[in-house]
Amino acid sequence: MREALTLRSESLLSRANPLAKFAAVFLITLVLALSIDWVSATVALGFELLLFPLAGLTPLLLWQRGWPLIIAAALGGWSTAILAPDAGRILLDVGIWSISAGSLELGLGFMLRGLAIALPAVLLMSCTDPTDLADALAQKAKLPHRFVLGTLAAMRLVGLMAEEWQTIGMARRARGVGSRGTPLQRLRATLGQSFGLLVQAIRRASRLAVTMEARGFGGAQRTWARESTYSRLDVWVLVGGTVIAAAAVTAAIGAGTWNLVWASTGYPHNT
């Protein structure tokens, strides 16, 4: 957690304004959420993979940061392929599991779409510093600065809490509270440990609040040492997002696979 919060990368995309990056990712996600088809997802995914070097990500780094999402997408696709109603030629039939051409296509579309939606999020997180994001939210999106900066400072404490959890667990074992044993005993131990953590979290948070207030936090007026700005790069980020979204829709309509979620009957019509 802490490692992720203090991540510094000098890639091209890390210099773009976080809000522009958010807008671009939002556009792509919106289009992909509209249709379950493999063409739009594949096109978007292809473009995204091309973009990763700009965010300073290698395939290895991508796998290390995003492996849970990638596995989830693969599993989602697999189970869709098995469970979707059959349409077209049956390809595999083992007991209650059957995969038909139609359900395979649907499953593949699901997996690709999952990946195409998840990867921009990984990309966004790995090239956006939380402090820069807070600056943009407060200065550009005009969210209340008390709320934004309070949340930012609290996020630092979340990393500390992970260490504190481990320490409290050991401290309680040293008092004779076992974290091993029957599920009920373990549940009780976890609840007790959570309470200990909560007490410590509140203490830390109130001390941090005193520190922030003693540094003049909470006044009506405030200046920003780091001015959040838009640059020409942000225009390119927006254009990029729009191009990917448009290309995905155009390709899918051209290929005849465009398939709006709310118009769908659960499997593609045109197989």
Binding site: A153, T167, A174, G176, G178, S206, R207, G219, W224
Partner: protein
């Protein structure tokens, strides 16, 4: 507030007249009848027993009193009377006039990048951005952190560096008065000097007023020009007990300060000497009997991490540690911060799994529980090895002092009769019904030692037991442990405190370089 634009610091003066403050939900005032004048530019060391209201006064001067107290409660029905003014104005109305540093370094850091953290206070005072960065560079240079890049992660700083960073953040606000609330209580000796010297340099340069609260007088004595001793608020003859130049106060009030638990320079509190107890009670393990041994130990707090499908073993903070723990003998673990002292102690105590090497208990200690303490059940562990953590609150499991002490014996099904003796011995008898979280620092420490001892372990492991303790608690603790040692227990302590380890005697295990043996 209008920003300070002249770039200089205007030292602030303090006047208190009949000032009193009662925290919400407390029956008695924390400070009562305070009459005090601090001239602009004066440097004051504030002393007094715990409960004398030192922190309350600093929080009031910082203008942060009344919003939340340390228990996190809202102060709805707190009481204030009399007046407490900075330059004739209430502190609350003067954002940024005073800068406050607290004890816990982790909560003195606000943002994740060095430069941003220093800029935070100046931003809040609406200082123009271009000037903020001038101030940030200057402040970082002044506290000796100027060599680090502005985007250096604050989480990578040591405790002493974090406190110096907090000082830089305060300096960037250009306050007229700097308030330090036990700024070095959580630091190792090197960190203490780092922070003290940085404060000294900054005062020399800015001429700001200083009020510092600290038990260890020797650290601050040469930096201040006045000592004010406060007494607990319930008394009627005013809150200030003694007030004067350091040398005079230390000479005239030495006995009184020692009684109040203050660390008076050149005075080591009297403790019980080792070996002066009567012969061992029958049935205890003979002195020198081997109980626990560490063999070529590599230690780490990390658990194995996952990177994709790969499982990475934790990186050890220290390797090749061998040590022996014997009945009736003390083992002191020393070394600089980050050398893995605490991690080693926790591994030895069966709380962390060794990365490499082994911890093995002899039959004398294990009594049928198996050789590896990490594999013992919690009940088996506490009756054999007791561990006292650095932060007492981490170990509290109930809401009442007496229940806290009975917790171990009840789980074990025996030993409840020993609780009364422990209560008596560690002066907790009058507190049996109190909530452990509401105790003072010294009381919490005594309770945490008592709770662990209630399970009657043969080996006692203590992590920095004397950190931030006043001289009275220190002496009680040292005497009590020397008594336990003479009664045949083994005591392993992780400490920077040389006086403490010399009271306990025994062997020293110095960490820092691998392959150290303690025999």
């Amino acid at each position: 507030m209008t920003p300070i634009r002249d770039g200089g610091v205007r030292p602030a003066g303090v006047t208190a007249q009949g000032w009193a403050w009662r925290h919400a939900g407390r029956p008695r005032p924390a400070v009562q009848g305070l009459n005090l004048d601090i001239r602009a530019g004066e440097r004051v060391l504030l002393l007094g027993p715990s409960g004398a209201g030192k922190s309350t006064l600093l929080h009031a001067l910082a203008g942060v009193l009344g919003d939340t107290n340390d228990d996190g409660g809202e102060a709805g029905d707190s009481d204030e009377s009399g007046s407490l003014l900075i330059d004739g104005q209430p502190p609350r109305a003067q954002r940024g006039r005073a800068g406050l540093m607290q004890q816990d370094p982790e909560t003195q850091v606000i943002l994740s990048r060095l430069g941003d953290d220093v800029a935070f206070g100046a931003e809040n005072l609406a200082v123009p951005p271009a000037e903020i960065w001038t101030r940030v560079h200057e402040a970082l240079d002044d506290v000796g952190l100027g060599h680090l890049p502005l985007d250096h992660p604050t989480s990578a700083l040591s405790g002493g560096q974090k406190q110096r960073l907090a000082l830089a953040g305060i300096l960037a606000m250009r306050p007229g008065i700097i308030l330090l609330d036990e700024p070095t209580a959580n630091l190792d000796p090197a960190g203490v000097l780092e922070v003290r010297d940085a404060v000294g340099r900054c005062l020399e340069k800015t001429g700001a007023t200083l009020v510092v609260v600290e038990h260890r007088v020797a650290v601050w004595k040469d930096l201040v020009d006045r000592i004010v001793v406060l007494q607990p608020g319930a008394s009627n003859d005013g809150a200030v007990l003694i007030d004067g130049p350091p040398d005079l106060v230390l000479e005239q009030a030495k006995e009184m300060l020692i009684r109040a638990g203050v660390w008076v320079p050149g005075h080591v509190p009297a403790t019980r000497q080792r070996g002066s107890a009567a012969a061992l009670p029958p049935g205890t393990a003979g002195t020198g009997q081997l109980l626990l041994a560490a063999e070529k130990l590599a230690v780490s707090r990390e658990r194995p991490r996952r990177r994709g499908f790969k499982k990475l073993p934790p990186t050890p903070v220290q390797t090749g540690i061998s040590a022996q723990v014997r009945a009736g003998e003390a083992l002191t673990v020393t070394g600089p911060n980050g050398s893995g002292k605490s991690t080693f102690a926790l591994t030895l105590a069966g709380l962390l799994k060794p990365v490499a090497g082994a911890v093995s208990a002899t039959l004398e200690l294990s009594a049928g529980a198996g050789i590896d303490p990490y594999k013992w059940k919690a009940e088996q562990l506490i009756s054999r090895i007791g561990t006292v953590f650095q932060e007492p609150e981490h170990q509290f499991v109930t809401g009442r002092v007496l229940d806290e002490l009975l917790f171990g014996p009840r789980h074990l099904g025996h030993g409840e009769e020993r609780v009364d003796e422990l209560l008596e011995r560690l002066r907790l008898t009058s507190l049996v019904d109190a909530n452990p979280y509401t105790l003072s620092g010294g009381e919490k420490r005594r309770l945490s030692v008592a709770t662990v001892l209630a399970a009657h372990p043969q080996v006692l492991v203590l992590d920095e037991p004397t950190f931030g303790q006043d001289a009275t608690t220190w002496a009680e603790l040292a005497s009590f442990l020397s008594e336990l040692l003479d009664a045949g227990a083994a005591v392993v302590s992780v400490t920077h405190d040389q006086e403490f380890s010399s009271v306990l005697g025994g062997t020293e295990l110095a960490m820092g370089t691998p392959e150290m043996a303690a025999s």
